[in-house]
Amino acid sequence: MTELNSLTIKQAKEGLIKREFSSFDLTEACLAQIEKVDKKINAFIKPIAPTYDDVVSAARKADKLLSSNQDLPLLGIPIAVKDNFSTMGIRTTASSKVLDDYIPPYDATVVKKLKDAGAVLIGKTNMDAWAHGSSTETSDYGSTKNPWNTKHLPGGSSGGSAAAVAADEAIAAIGSETAGSIRQPASWCGVVGLKPTYGRVSRYGVIAMASSLDSPGPITKTVEDSALLLRVLAGTDEFDATTSLPPVGDYTLPVVDNKIKNLKIGISDEYFIDGIDKEVESAVRLSIEKLEKMGAKIVKINLVKPKYATSVYTIIQRSEVSSNLARYDGVRFGKDRKLFGEEAKRRIVLGTYSLSSGYYNQYYNRAAKARSLIVNDFEKAFEKVNVILGPTSPSLPLHAGASENAAMFGEIADILVEPSSIAGLPGINIPIGFSKSMLPIGMQIIGRQFAEDLVLQVAHQYEMATANENWRKKRPNL
């Protein structure tokens, strides 16, 4: 019998409806996997919450509903949630000791939607503390290891969620991206990660990192699963004034007609930056060729050099971080601020500096203007192309320890995803293969604002076209 925990949401749903197995079976399989492998990869915050009893109880409730033919989009599906999403009554730490004993009295909107859709919350996943990073090494609860090679990093900040999905500890997971925090760990862990248009999914209840950038999103095994989850999560929220007004798209897959034929895919040379890993580059260029063979038109576009986006992102993000972290004074909740880790302090320092009255114009304001430039730049590009494609990460998953003591590790690692994050555009990472050293390689597809449906279609088409490639049969050896 296939291990139930290795199923996709789609497959699990089919099995549940056909009564081939129960949510309890499915959940137990995931819990067993967690028991078996999490000591090696540390994808979950410990002690795992909800408790075993509570998780089983939720699975049994789902089974009851399933037996009465209730039709909810995620009924009975075990999902892991990044530990920066407030879960009522369940400890939420953002992987920082400052929140070591914090128990939110409310659910994030995303969590509420998951519950309303019948999902079974299976655990909170490890992350870079405060989402500051691209390695998950800055977690105060130990770093997460890449399931494909535990000597390597899973990426971050949603490293725990990505690893949990790659290691089949959960059927799917929720992450959040400020600039790269979904796409990059998805790339390094060989799974699908979607950063929706900024505002498409509510931030209410997500521990804020950079308010004008944070975007919750799904991390899944397939593109179809991603679309399904997005459908559940997206929508206007009365508790978040920055959520989008346009109605949620259909995002249904599989595809009806071939969206790739005559699709104009923009490729920017600037994204194959100096120093990019050769294997990453050749894998992505190969994928581009495949898309061309499928009928796509490759259009060369010029985009503002990503290094400027890195500067814009570093300044704006760290400025917003310095303000968002001010509420942690230990009075109403949490512990003293002196428990902030090095990375948090680094970012608060730069952020405070660039907002100070003598430096505001030189840094924050200048970055905000450059942000407008980047937004316009993409708008111009999308007049010529339908989607933009490129590598997600300039490197293969780095070795553990790579992020320590670096002044700007996170922001530099995310150089290729920052431009689209700054402009609030949707972007998806899909796995395209492995390096010789068996480390995952991913590529990203970016669309204009609210073009999730097109981005998902293209990603799905590519996934279908490459479904039989051998590398897809591999599983992490844990």
Partner: protein, 132 residues
């Protein structure tokens, strides 16, 4: 509908969004300049209520310089951005508000639950100088 960013100065803004003078005109406060590397981390730490040891301060100062060296590359774009409005919002949304209708609040217990110290339904904190 995403609002298009206009590459022209909006006449709507009361003050020019360019130049240091604009900001210091309105601010009745003194302008902060971190002229001294040694004390700037100390000042930043005070502004940000951060606990920073001497050693940490040295390291942070170094790293701040490294970061500034990188992000100063934005100077290259000055010609291109001089006519642009700063974006603090990329949703294009405007006029978002809600009706003035109250909803139930948290109970006193829920509100106080995560606090380390409370007294008679109030949050307790070590004496603050009576500056009210």
């Amino acid at each position: 509908m995403v609002k298009k960013h206009e590459i022209s100065k909006s006449k709507d803004l009361i003050i020019s969004s360019t130049g240091t003078t604009a900001r210091s005109e309105i601010s009745s406060a003194s302008v902060t300049y971190f002229s001294d590397d040694k004390t700037r981390i100390k000042h930043i730490a005070e502004l940000a209520a951060l606990d920073i040891t001497q050693d940490e301060g040295v390291k942070l100062s170094q790293q701040l310089d490294e970061t500034l060296a990188y992000i100063n590359n934005l100077k290259d774009l000055d010609n291109l951005v001089s006519q642009l409005e700063p974006s603090s919002q990329i949703t294009g949304l405007e006029n978002i508000s809600r009706e003035d209708e109250p909803s139930p609040s948290l109970s006193q217990d829920e509100a106080l639950k995560n606090a380390k110290a409370t007294q008679n339904g109030l949050f307790k904190v070590k004496g603050v100088l009576n500056n009210d």
